[in-house]
């Protein structure tokens, strides 16, 4: 059991917790936060492989995570704005009720 394994296990667990939240909770904010957790799990993986990966020198892992954080921020902003818009429309934020876009 190397530190890398441990890191990966932690990230796997975090990912699964996020996934569970996204799938199980009906509150849209929590779903969004679950997705954020999954992103964080992915970021942990990047850093873990950057730290313990076979090749050194390149700061690619870090750069990737930086971008990922930026995208996550954008996602959170747009997502929460959408949630507010949905709330204004249907007076709650239960995801299962927001089915206007069905085919």
């Amino acid at each position: 059991m190397t530190p890398l394994h441990l890191c990966l296990l932690i990230s796997t667990a975090l990912f699964c917790i996020g996934l569970f939240g996204a799938l199980a909770r009906s509150n849209t904010i929590l779903v969004l936060l679950g997705i954020e957790l999954m992103l964080n799990a992915a970021n942990i993986n990047f850093i873990a492989f950057w730290r313990y990966g076979p090749s050194h020198g390149a700061a690619n892992g870090m750069i990737f995570v930086l971008f990922s954080i930026a995208v996550a921020a954008a996602e959170a902003a747009v997502g929460l704005a959408l949630i507010i818009a949905v709330y204004r429309h249907q007076k709650n934020i239960r995801l299962q009720e927001a089915t206007v876009l069905k085919g």
Binding site: L23, S26, V31, L95, Q96, T99, V100, L101, K102, G103
Partner: protein
């Protein structure tokens, strides 16, 4: 001082000007203007007459181009010869008097100025007709005269009978005019000209006449005969000759001055004038022996039939104006008879005298009608002799002139001339006999008319309160009466001035004394018979039966019904006309319209069939494909629940599977 032919157009132009003014204004002064214009035209006509009399054998012409046609032009022209000059003088003189009479007669009418406008239009057209040197110009004026007649007959257009009579007159004369038009076209086509006299090129000059009478048609007629007869059709219509006479009695619906001017003195005589004008053409076939019929023979018989028929019917009429109208028909028949038997001078002589005494009679009738509060039925009148002395005196003169009372009255001389000519005609004596019968009848019905109207006791309220009219109406009567007496002396066998003027080659024939005595006897018989039946035992009530009616009710009923011509025409021509119209409408609406609709329906139907075929075959396969696409689309769209959790779940399961695949397969 004479009027040169170049200025001849001034004669019709003066009344035309007044007509134009009258069309634009309703001022009562139009009447005075019309009278002055007529008087001016009369003065000009006298000047023209003076010029024409200087050398009666000359046909002075003035031709001008109307418009370009091909390399040449369509030409019209004016003609001045004694015939024209005498006619214009007569028309303007009688016209002036009648215009003056109308001042009084129409005083109360609210369309007073319009009446004079129409009268002036008529005068202009009539004078234009007289001065024309072109058959086309003559035709133009001929139609305009018809228009004026139409407008004036229908002057009281709010009366349906007047409106119908106007239409009947126009349509009936137009039937004749179509023949005239065809004759004119034929003439134009075969000679290339329509000018009467054109320095040797005119249609009435030797070259053209020789060529026309030289050609023979398929039916054996000479070309000139055919053209002449077609032109004569126009005269038949306009002059109320049998069989187109039916409109003239109805035309009495117009105001009485109109009847006097148009339907007695001038327009109806235009037919006679026309035949006299184209007399060289009508008689061009006279020397041909092999033709089945000569144009003038037809004219003579038509005239004879009309003269006799008109006189017969006149005996059974009760309306004062109708009696005079049928008398006009009869007298016009005389003129045609004269033309037909070869004496155009006698015809014109009678035309002139007739114009005066018939205008006199009509104006006298108008005077009676005006005085008797528009009572026209002679059975309702009576006793006017003492109430209207001037009218009675002048009317009596007119009556005697018309009846042909010997020596003093103009009608006698002109009628004698006609009978004399008929006697000399070598084709047949039938027209002469018809004319002699008509002499008796004329004297008879005129006696009846005078006796019923002026003698006895008044038989109605209108006649009771009648009194003599104002001078503006009686003065023309007196002047006309004087003329009705004097005019006869212009053409007596002992001093045939008129005949010589009209026909420089005229030679007075002698030896007609026996015929003259016979006709004097016949006039006396007619007068005596009339007086015996109506004068000795005067009618006492309006309802009393006519002695003739008692004697021969069936004959009189037929005559009173005008020999049933109106009914006959209504049953034949009228019905044919409406049947043709109905047929044309049916053809249009159902046959052709139906065909079009059928074709359209056929088009729509084939379109429908086409569509069915398309849908069954071509579209079938395509539809199946698109239906399956649609079905799958529907299937997948049903999967689109909009449930975000569902989508997420699918993504997650896919992710698990992906991970499983990667893990089992190994990274490498």
């Amino acid at each position: 001082m004479t009027l040169p032919v170049q200025l001849l157009w001034l004669i019709p132009a003066l009344p035309l000007l007044v007509a134009g003014i009258g069309a634009l204004t309703r001022h009562r002064g139009v009447a005075l203007a019309a009278i002055f214009a007529m008087a001016g035209s009369f003065a000009l006509s006298c000047l023209a007459l003076a010029g024409a009399l200087q050398d009666p054998s000359v046909h002075a012409t003035y031709n001008f181009a109307w418009f370009d046609l091909g390399h040449g032009a369509l030409r019209l022209g004016f003609l001045l010869d004694p015939l024209t000059a005498l006619m214009t003088t007569m028309v303007t003189f009688v016209g002036t008097l009648i215009f003056i009479f109308s001042l009084g007669y129409m005083k109360e009418d609210k369309n007073f100025s319009r009446f004079f406008c129409f009268l002036s239009l008529f005068a202009a057209a009539m004078l234009g007709l007289l001065v024309a040197n072109s058959l086309l110009l003559l035709f133009v004026c001929w139609e305009l005269v018809g228009l004026a007649s139409y407008l004036l007959i229908g002057f009281w257009f709010h009366k349906p009978s007047a409106a119908a009579a106007a239409k009947k007159a126009f349509i009936t004369t137009r039937i004749g005019d179509l023949g005239f038009l065809l004759g004119l076209l034929w003439l134009a086509d075969s000679t290339g000209s329509l000018l009467f006299y054109d320095g040797g090129q005119g249609v009435l000059e030797a070259t053209a006449l020789a060529s026309l009478s030289g050609q023979t048609l398929a039916c054996g007629l000479a070309l000139s005969t055919a053209i002449g007869l077609l032109i004569f059709c126009g005269a038949v219509g306009k002059s109320g000759q049998f069989p187109l006479h039916v409109w003239l009695p109805d035309a009495m619906e117009g105001p009485t001055p109109v009847s006097a001017l148009i339907h007695a003195a001038t327009m109806v005589a235009a037919g006679v004038f026309l035949v006299a004008r184209v007399y060289p053409l009508m008689s061009a076939d006279a020397l041909l022996a092999a033709v089945p019929v000569h144009a003038l023979t037809v004219v003579a018989f038509i005239g004879a039939i009309t003269a006799l028929m008109g006189a017969l019917i006149a005996c059974a009429q009760n309306d004062i104006k109708r009696i005079l109208a049928f008398s006009t028909v009869s007298q016009l028949g005389y003129m045609m008879l004269a033309l037909g038997v070869g004496s155009s001078t006698a015809a014109i002589f009678h035309l002139l005298t007739h114009a005066f005494f018939k205008a006199l009679l009509f104006l006298g009738a108008g005077s009676v009608i005006h005085a008797a509060h528009h009572e026209q039925d002679i059975r309702q009148l009576g006793g006017l002799r003492t109430k209207m002395k001037v009218t009675f005196a002048t009317f009596a003169i007119g009556m005697m002139a018309l009846s042909g009372v010997p020596f003093l009255f103009s009608g006698f001389w002109s009628k004698e001339a006609i009978l004399h000519a008929a006697h000399e005609w070598d084709v047949s004596h039938l027209p002469l006999y018809a004319g002699l019968c008509a002499v008796v009848l004329t004297a008879f019905y005129m006696t009846r008319l005078v006796a019923e109207t002026f003698f006895g006791k008044p038989r109605s309220h209108g006649a009771e309160h009648a009194h003599e009219n104002s001078a503006v109406m009686t003065a023309p009567l007196v002047i006309l009466a004087v003329c009705a007496v004097l005019l006869g002396f212009l053409g007596t066998p002992y001093w045939p001035w008129l005949q010589k003027t009209l026909d420089p080659h005229y030679e007075a024939t002698h030896g007609g004394l026996g015929l003259m005595l016979l006709s004097i006897g016949l006039v006396g018989a007619g007068l005596g018979l009339g007086w015996a039946l109506y004068g000795r035992k005067l009618r006492t009530t309006a309802a009393a039966r006519d002695p003739l009616d008692t004697a021969a009710p069936a004959v009189m009923a037929v005559l009173a019904d005008r020999l049933g011509f109106d009914e006959l025409y209504a049953a034949t021509v009228g019905r044919l006309n409406s049947a043709t119209a109905a047929f044309a409408d049916f053809l249009d609406r159902y046959v052709i319209g139906g065909l079009v609709t059928f074709l359209a329906q056929l088009g729509i139907f084939s379109g429908g069939v086409n569509r069915q075929v398309d849908e069954a075959n071509l579209n079938g396969g395509f539809d199946a494909v698109s239906e399956s696409v649609r079905g799958s689309g529907l299937f997948y769209s049903r999967k689109q629940t909009g449930e975000t959790h569902g989508y997420l779940r699918v993504v997650a399961v896919a992710f698990v599977l992906l991970a499983l695949v990667l893990a089992l397969g190994g990274v490498r």
